[in-house]
Amino acid sequence: MELPSPNPEILTRKAELVARLGEVLPPAAVISDPAETRAYECDALTAYKCPPLAVILPGSTREVSDALAICHDMGVPVVPRGAGTSLAGGALPTEDSVILGVARLTEVLETDYDNRFIRVQSGRTNLSVTGAVEDDGFFYAPDPSSQLACAIAGNIAMNSGGAHCLKYGVTTNNLLGVTLVQMDGTVSEIGGAHLDAAGYDLLGLICGSEGQLGVVTEATLRILHAPEGARPVLMGFNSNEVAGACVSDIIKAGVLPVAIEFMDRPCIRATEDFAHAGYPDCEALLIVEVEGSDAEIDAQLEVITGIARAHDPVELRQSTSDEESARIWLGRKSAFGAMGQINDYMCLDGTIPVSALPHVLGRIRQMSAEYGLDVANVFHAGDGNMHPLILFDANRPGDLETCEALGAEILKLCVEVGGCLTGEHGVGVEKRDLMTHQYGPDDLDAQMAVKDVFDPRWLLNPAKVFPLAASDARRIAAE
């Protein structure tokens, strides 16, 4: 994976940059000692590391604006960082860049239950947004699995999803407004507490733009009243095809489950060894969860188990209590931990049409054999968002490269069957060079034209998302 070589002129001006940033930020908010900047050398994609030139942690929109204006003036690239949980390298710095962290922006600014929104500073964690409203019965719907740690700023940058988006949508469907600071320091209010911002859908553009269009410092988010209850049913099948057909039939039946999770045999075995959730030893396992009052849940689960029975399941276990629900979810929720116990792993994130599920799982099994690396599958089946986990040994020379090659093959397969490279993790640096498999030159040019408008000098997180060869001309022209 290639990153542009650092601009030597910027490196020599470090002292001047740090001094100028110190004029607009409190002393503790500017970090330039290499021993300390090292903490920011990577995000959750730990295979790539590079300490930044400096790190700034502004405490207000004004400070973000002032600091960005200085970096803009000096031509210094800025890499925005939420909580550093990106699996795609979205917050990976370059040697000549400044990391702008939102960790000090954590306040709840406004909560309004009548109009069902909350306005927060963007460094607040996903889970603590729900935490701020749950005592009053409300919640914020998008729930990425890193929700304990990840920041709303990162959720917006990556348009994060989660297990419950089959029913509630992803970040872009729950974002009402932002305060955006552009690279030159310009501050804009886009959208607000009302629905559908005026003019072009700039909110839609900003959401998922991976920190390349601006830094979001405040966000207005839609909150919902929590359902009265939720319970899952677990079903085991002897083939991926049958499990896939069952998913499709459930979706067609008119019940809208809040989640449909899928695990294949390698994943079931690993999690069983680790968590002892009492899962059946079978080819494919589904966990389907529905919401409502007790009676409503029973009625929906009856429809769902009826469909499952028609597919001859090897196991069908309907939860009737909180304890049983927890037990059903136990294995699924410890799946990633279980994999980490066995091996290093790389988590992919391609999305496919639900109808292509059996074909894709079959092909992944073949590829896994060809490359000699095990692949376990655990994913959100309702929306086709796969999470193949490729197991490798980071200490064995060549294993990481083989793993990356296999990962690329699997993602190309996802595109081939009508899907996409990434459903919720983002492109970052990880999938940047695969973009040409999904989009043609004109498609990429149209996307880059958006960055030209928001950040004409290509200073914000510049070496991500687009293959370097595609963005070269723009980045060089802007220098």
């Binding site: 309004d112 009548d114 109009n115 069902r116 409300f138 999803g161 988006c165 949508g169 469907n173 310009t186 804009s188 607000g192 009302h194 629905l195 559908d196 005026a198 003019g199 072009y200 859908d201 700039l202 839609g204 553009l205 959401c207 998922g208 009243h225 929590a226 359902p227 009265e228 979706i251 067609k252 008119g254 409502g292 009052s293 409503e296 009625a299 929906q300 999305t351 049409p353 639900v354 109808s355 086709g384 968002n385 009508g418 996409c420 990434t422 993790h425 983002g426 973009m435 999904q438 989009y439 043609g440 004109d442 498609d443 040019d445 149209a446 996307q447 034209a449 958006v450 408008v453 998302v465």
Partner: protein, 386 residues
């Protein structure tokens, strides 16, 4: 009228165009006025490309009549969840609404409050940009963060950035049962309060409207529930109890009656055939009654729990564009003149930095200024007046 029959033909037409083009589907939604230019319609780009009911996915060419899309979906017991409005009655237009037109104007009906807007169900687009290039963005899967989201940019850009040729949509099953709770006689304030309370419950209200003049000429507050029969009955009962202080609520469960009542809200039927400008406001629900009360001589319909306000300004009304825009600017939100003419721009003037971004996007996507000239354009001098 230019009516290219294929996407390459359309791209060629645009690439060779020397004069502005007026982009339209069926031409039934001239929101913001009719721009100049030679008319170019996508109506000949018609037909379903792909429909997978088990994946809740529909891919359809832009010129396909909305009625055809809805019929295809109904055949599998599914529908467009965002309940797009039919503008013909309100705008007194003829013609066949197309799915491309729905997307270009991001048209969403009462269910938007719970299910989401048209833009929320749009999975992918193909469009021809101002240089005549065919651009693809998004795809046909429900979760996709691969690159920038031009899908949502195209929704609601009213044909000013590109000519949409194909759209991929997420669809949903039609629930088995539906119910309409009505509470008569509430003031605007109390009506919106009741709606807020219903929407803040766990009962997944899929429609929340308040009419100043219901079918009997008196105010009517409306709440819709959808789902399994037992669930609708249970939720209606719970809501009645929660809303008891607003007076007794009546439950209607005849599907045709419920549908007709919401179709009237969706299409703003109470304003059909009546003279006067029509405005559409998006505001914070609890701000809505106050904004309406401050505008002299207007009649209002509240949808989206109060967040969407339709205003009829009879000629005698004291309120005008300036008053409306001022009220909305103070509260936060936006106002669009959907019907009528006047010196004030039809679309909400934007703050300067946002207007600059919008102008920049227009310049990049349509450098020759071919598409719908003037539409949605920001007039710098009007910004302060907003």
């Amino acid at each position: 009228m230019l009516t290219p029959e294929t996407e390459p033909e359309l791209a060629e037409t645009v690439a060779g165009a020397q004069r502005p083009l007026r982009i339209l589907g069926g031409g039934t939604r001239p929101v913001g006025g009719v721009p100049g230019g030679a008319p170019l319609s996508t109506r000949a780009l018609s037909g379903v490309e792909l429909y997978e009911p088990g994946a809740l996915t529909l891919v359809v060419r832009a010129g396909t009549p909305l009625a055809e899309v809805e019929a295809v979906l109904a055949g599998e017991g599914q529908r467009l969840p965002f309940e797009p409005m039919d503008h013909r009655g309100l705008l007194d237009t003829q013609g066949e609404p197309t799915i491309g037109g729905v997307v270009a104007a991001n048209v969403s009906g009462p269910r938007r409050i719970q299910a989401g807007a048209c833009r929320d169900f749009l999975l992918g687009v193909r469009f021809v940009d101002g240089q005549g290039r065919v651009i693809r963005n998004g795809g046909r899967v429900m979760k996709n963060v691969t690159g920038y989201d031009l899908v949502r940019l195209m929704a609601g850009s009213h044909g000013t950035l590109g000519v949409i040729t194909e759209v991929a949509l997420k669809v949903l099953p039609v629930p088995k049962a539906t119910g309409l709770l009505t509470i008569p006689g509430l003031s605007d304030d109390r009506g919106v309060q009741a709606l807020c309370r219903a929407l803040g419950s766990p009962y997944e209200v899929t429609g929340a409207a308040h009419l100043q003049h219901g079918p009997e000429g008196t105010p009517m507050t409306m709440i819709r529930l959808e789902g399994f029969e037992a669930s609708v009955a249970y939720r209606a009962g719970e809501l009645k109890a929660r809303l008891a202080e607003y007076g007794p609520a009546r439950l209607e469960t005849d599907p045709e009656a419920v549908h007709a009542a919401w179709a009237a809200v969706r299409d703003v039927a109470p304003f059909h055939g009546r003279p006067g400008d029509v405005w559409r406001l998006s505001v914070k629900p609890t701000d809505a009654p106050g904004i309406v009360a401050g505008l002299e001589g207007v009649e209002a319909i509240y949808d989206w729990g109060g967040g969407l306000v339709w205003l009829l300004l009879p000629e005698a009304a004291g309120a005008d564009a300036t008053a409306i825009r001022q009220a909305v600017a103070e509260a936060g939100g936006h106002a669009t003149r959907v019907r009528g003419a006047g010196a004030a721009p039809a679309f909400q003037p934007l703050p300067a930095p946002v207007a600059a971004l919008q102008a920049g996007l227009k310049q990049r996507f349509d450098p020759k200024g071919l598409f719908n000239p003037g539409l949605m354009e920001q007039q710098a001098r009007d910004t302060s007046a907003a």
